[in-house]
């Protein structure tokens, strides 16, 4: 089979799994999970340096930004202005224009504020950023983001950190069918089968953090996610059988004794 790659904003990747770097017990465990996952992109957050203890270990000591694509995110931002400010700093710190935009609406659900998200997408695209955008699983909102300059649409499968799995396959599928940029499920994956479901629906990839970081054995779960994303993708490419209401025997009826 030909090499199955996907591209976002002209950059090609082989792995369709993007992993986060939050909530791990240690940077070492994070790096081991990354290796097991085969991911080529990791999300990172931008935060104040601790100026009273600047010699603390840093993420970049364990995960090399020259080997892995860092995708700076705007987690924790509740307004377009905060998100834009954060990403301008991220671009200055690392030089990356491919970014993950998320503008949250409230702490309880961490649901995106789509009005602010759309506004931030327009501004960032205008400043030359390539925003991959976390959004609601709404096919109309997805189209609007694409028009605003999103280079990838990243609908939630379920609330961030909930591990509930894809709650609405119908809308995720509608987004995939309507999009002309990559679609990645971002948030809500709890276990390997959830990732496979996203890929079987035709998504270009899956982004997850907590499902791996909070597994009892994160490195083993990272390996499971790698396999499930690959399996889901292959099943999508293979084209699943049609569903029937009743049984259909697999062995021929002719020649029965």
């Amino acid at each position: 089979m030909a090499k199955d790659q996907w591209s976002v904003a002209g950059r090609s990747f082989t792995s369709r799994l993007i992993i986060g770097t939050g909530k791990y017990k240690s940077f070492g465990e994070n790096a081991a999970a990354l290796a097991a996952s085969g991911a080529e992109i990791v999300t990172v957050a931008v935060r104040r340096v601790n100026i009273s203890d600047p010699k603390q270990p840093m993420l970049t000591d364990f995960i090399d930004p020259k080997k892995v694509t860092f995708l700076p995110n705007t987690a924790g931002c509740f307004t377009a202005e905060d998100a834009i400010r954060t990403l301008r700093l991220a671009r200055e710190a690392g030089g990356w224009d491919l970014v993950k935009l998320e503008v949250l609406g409230e702490a309880r659900t961490l649901y995106p504020n789509m009005r602010e998200t759309l506004r931030a997408t327009e501004v960032l695209a205008g400043e030359g950023f390539l925003p991959m955008v976390y959004c609601v699983d709404d096919p109309i909102a997805a189209k609007q983001l694409e028009e605003a300059g999103a280079v990838a649409i990243m609908p939630l499968g379920a609330p961030i950190g909930s591990g509930l799995g894809l709650q609405n396959r119908v809308t995720i599928r509608l987004i995939v069918e309507g999009a002309s940029v990559p679609v990645l499920v971002d948030a809500g994956v709890g276990t390997a089968s959830d990732a496979a479901v996203a890929m079987e629906l035709g998504c270009d990839g899956v982004l997850m953090n907590t499902a791996i970081a909070e597994a009892k054995e994160p490195v083993t779960m990272a390996a499971a996610m790698k396999l499930s994303v690959e399996a889901g993708r292959l099943a999508y490419l293979a084209g699943r059988m049609a569903k029937r209401r009743y049984a259909d025997p697999s062995s021929p009826l002719a020649g029965l004794i």
Binding site: G20, K23, R48, V49, A90
Partner: protein, 78 residues
């Protein structure tokens, strides 16, 4: 908004870094300030009074009285 601090007699500047007040010697460059804190300038980004400071200007930019700095880096996140 730029915070106005009374100029000290020795010419040192009163600045805010990540929300903490500090005094720095007169004519300190931003590169010197970053080194004084103990940071690697290649791994941080700096904002001064809400404006990004390009890394290429760290050496030449002088710290001024009342400057409000945000110094950030990448940490783990989802």
């Amino acid at each position: 908004m730029k915070r106005k601090t009374a100029m000290s007699l020795d010419g040192s500047a009163g600045v805010t870094i990540n929300g903490e007040r500090r005094r720095v010697a007169a004519r300190t460059s931003l590169a010197q300030l970053i080194a004084e804190i103990g940071l690697d300038p290649l791994r941080v980004a700096v904002e001064c009074n809400l404006e990004i400071v390009p890394r290429s200007t760290f050496e030449t930019r002088l710290v001024e009285d009342g400057d409000d700095y945000e110094i950030v880096h990448f940490v783990g996140g989802g």
